[in-house]
C-alpha cells in the first residue's frame, strides 16, 4: 500500500506543475494573481503540458506547488470551470480534471491576436528564434538515437495534424522534444515558455496547406542536421524556421491592421 494518498499518486506529476509555474509569459505588473494562475493553466493546456482527463493535485497541494494561497487557486479553478476547461468530479477518485473542451474559439483567438502589437510579435519571434538556435546546436551535439526517434515521431504527427489545435500541440511538442534532445532542462523550460505564448498565435489564419508543408520540411531539415551532427546547420535552420514563422505571423497581423473595417475603426 502506498504511503501517499491515492489522490496525489494519480494526479499529474509535480515536475509538470513546476513547469506550469514557470509559464509566466509577459503578464505586466498589476495582473491579478488568480488571473495569472488561470493563464498559466490555460497555456499549459494549449501546449499540451496538461491534457484531457489529467487530474490536478488536491487544491492545497497544487496551491503550494504554484506558490499561491488556496483562496487564489480556488478563484482560478472557479474561473476555469466557468470556461469549461476544468471539471470537478465528486466522491471516491474525484477531484479536478482537465476537460476536453476546446480552449478558445477561433474568433476569440483572432480577436486576442489583433490586440497584440507589431513590436510584441517581433520580440516573441526573436526569443523563439534565439532559443531554438541554441537548442538546435546542442541537440546536434548531444541527441542520441532514441531522442531522434522521438523527435521524428512528433514531427510526423505534426505533418499529419488536421486541426489548428492539433497543429499547435504537435508543433510545441516537437520543439520541446528538441530541448530534451539537447539534454538541457533550462532550454527545455525556455522552449515550453516560448511555445505557451506562441501556441495561441499560431495557425489562426486557418493554416494553409502550403505553410504546414513548409513548416514540416523545415522540421525535417532541422532533424537531418541534428542527425548528421552538423551543429552550425542545426543552429541556423532552427533560427530560420522561427524567423520565417514569426515574420509570417507579423505579416498577417499587419495585413489585418491595415485593412480594418469601418466599424472597428
Amino acid at each position: 500500500m502506498s504511503a501517499h494518498s491515492p489522490d496525489v499518486d494519480t494526479a499529474v506529476h509535480v515536475g509538470t506543475i513546476d513547469m506550469i509555474a514557470q509559464l509566466r509569459g509577459v503578464d505586466a505588473a498589476g495582473t491579478g494573481l488568480s488571473d495569472r494562475i488561470s493563464r498559466q493553466l490555460e497555456s499549459a493546456i494549449a501546449v499540451g503540458l496538461l491534457n484531457e482527463g489529467d487530474k490536478l493535485p488536491p487544491e492545497n497541494i497544487l496551491a503550494e506547488q504554484l506558490g499561491v494561497s488556496s483562496i487564489t487557486l480556488r478563484q482560478s479553478l472557479a474561473e476555469m470551470r466557468l470556461k469549461g476547461l476544468v471539471e470537478t468530479r465528486r466522491g471516491r477518485g474525484g477531484g479536478s480534471f482537465i476537460s476536453g473542451k476546446a480552449l478558445t474559439t477561433p474568433e476569440q483567438l483572432l480577436s486576442e491576436f489583433k490586440r497584440r502589437s507589431p513590436e510584441d510579435l517581433r520580440d516573441l519571434g526573436d526569443l523563439a528564434a534565439t532559443v531554438a538556435a541554441g537548442v538546435g546546436r546542442r541537440a546536434a551535439l548531444r541527441a542520441d538515437e532514441q531522442d531522434l526517434r522521438r523527435s521524428r515521431e512528433l514531427a510526423s504527427r505534426f505533418a499529419r495534424a488536421s486541426t489548428a489545435e492539433e497543429l499547435r500541440r504537435t508543433d510545441s511538442r516537437f520543439h520541446i522534444s528538441l530541448g530534451v534532445a539537447a539534454q538541457s532542462r533550462r532550454l527545455t523550460n525556455a522552449t515550453i515558455q516560448v511555445h505557451s505564448e506562441l501556441a495561441a498565435l499560431m495557425w489562426i489564419a486557418g493554416a494553409s496547406t502550403a505553410s504546414i508543408e513548409t513548416a514540416g520540411e523545415e522540421h525535417d531539415a532541422i532533424l537531418d542536421a541534428i542527425e548528421r551532427r552538423d551543429e552550425e546547420a542545426a543552429d541556423r535552420l532552427s533560427a530560420a524556421h522561427f524567423e520565417r514563422e514569426s515574420e509570417a505571423l507579423l505579416d498577417y497581423f499587419l495585413e489585418l491592421a491595415t485593412t480594418t473595417t469601418p466599424e472597428e475603426a
Binding site: 505586466a28 505588473a29 498589476g30 495582473t31 491579478g32 490586440r115 497584440r116 502589437s117 507589431p118 513590436e119 510584441d120 510579435l121 517581433r122 520580440d123 515574420e247 509570417a248 507579423l250 505579416d251 499587419l254 495585413e255 491592421a257 491595415t258 485593412t259 480594418t260 475603426a265
Partner: protein, 248 residues
C-alpha cells in the same frame, strides 16, 4: 497605388502622428506653471516629494485624455531639487484594469532593478538641451519594462538641476494609429527616429526597435523613395520621419 497617392498617405500620416504627439506635449506644457508654483512656494525653494501630490489628478488626467496613447505620466526630479530625496519619480501608470497606479521605482544603485533615470536619454537629452523631446522607442528596463516612447518637457526650478515632466506612449496604440492611417501594404512605409530606429512600420522586415541599415539621417533618407518629417508646433521635438522604402 500611384506615387501621388502614396505621397498623400505619408503626409497625412506624419501630420496625424504630429498632431497626436503635440496634443500630449500641450498637456505637459500646461502643467509646467503648477510645478514652478509648488517649488517656489516651498521653504528655500526646495520642495519635498509630498508637495507634488496635489498634481496627481492632473497627471492622471493626461493618461485619460489621449485614447490609450499615453499610459504613464509624471515628474522626474533633477539633482538637488527636492530636500528629502536625491532621486524621485512622481510617476503614474495605467494598471491592468485601466486605473492609474503609482509607479514605484528602485533607486538603490546596488539593485539590479536600479532605475538610473538621470543617465537615460529620455531624461538626459531634454534636461541638458533645455528643449522638449520625444525619445525612443527604447526598452525601459526597471521602469515600465516595455518598449516605449517618452515625451519629455524640461523644467528648471529655482534650486537644483533641471527636472523633466514626461509622458510614456503605449506603442501598440501608436502602431495602431499609424497602421490605420497608412492603410496599405502595397509599399513598405516606415516611421523612424533620427537615429534610424524604427518606431513602427507596415512591414515585418522593419519592425519596431530595429535599425535601418544606415548610420546618419542624411544616409537613411537616401533609403526612401519619398519621405516627410513628422511636423510639430515646436520644431525638432518629434525627430521622426515617415518614408516609403526603396525596393520595399
Amino acid at each position: 497605388m500611384s506615387p501621388e497617392q502614396l505621397s498623400r498617405i505619408i503626409r497625412a500620416t506624419a501630420e496625424l502622428i504630429g498632431a497626436r504627439l503635440d496634443a500630449v506635449f500641450a498637456d505637459l506644457n500646461n502643467l509646467l506653471p503648477d510645478i514652478l508654483l509648488i517649488a517656489d512656494a516651498s521653504p528655500g525653494g526646495r520642495p519635498a516629494k509630498a508637495d507634488f501630490e496635489p498634481l496627481r489628478p492632473q497627471l492622471q488626467a493626461i493618461m485619460a485624455r489621449h485614447d490609450g496613447l499615453v499610459d504613464g505620466a509624471g515628474i522626474a526630479f533633477g539633482r538637488d531639487v527636492l530636500h528629502d530625496a536625491a532621486s524621485w519619480l512622481e510617476w503614474w501608470r495605467l494598471g491592468q484594469g485601466g486605473e492609474p497606479e503609482f509607479a514605484a521605482h528602485v533607486f538603490n544603485p546596488n539593485s539590479i532593478r536600479y532605475y538610473e533615470y538621470s543617465a537615460m536619454s529620455w531624461f538626459q537629452l531634454p534636461t541638458m538641451s533645455g528643449r522638449s523631446l520625444a525619445t525612443g522607442p527604447y526598452i525601459d528596463s526597471g521602469g515600465t519594462d516595455l518598449n516605449i516612447v517618452t515625451l519629455a518637457v524640461p523644467v528648471q526650478t529655482a534650486h537644483g538641476s533641471p527636472s523633466a515632466l514626461g509622458a510614456d506612449l503605449f506603442l501598440p496604440v501608436l502602431a495602431s494609429i499609424f497602421l490605420k492611417s497608412v492603410a496599405t501594404r502595397d509599399r513598405a512605409v516606415v516611421m523612424v527616429n533620427d537615429g534610424g530606429r524604427v518606431v513602427t512600420s507596415n512591414t515585418a522586415r522593419h519592425s519596431t526597435g530595429t535599425l535601418l541599415s544606415a548610420t546618419s539621417p542624411s544616409a537613411f533618407a537616401a533609403l526612401f523613395d519619398d519621405y516627410v518629417s513628422v511636423p510639430s508646433a515646436e520644431p525638432g521635438r518629434i525627430p521622426w520621419l515617415v518614408g516609403i522604402l526603396k525596393n520595399g
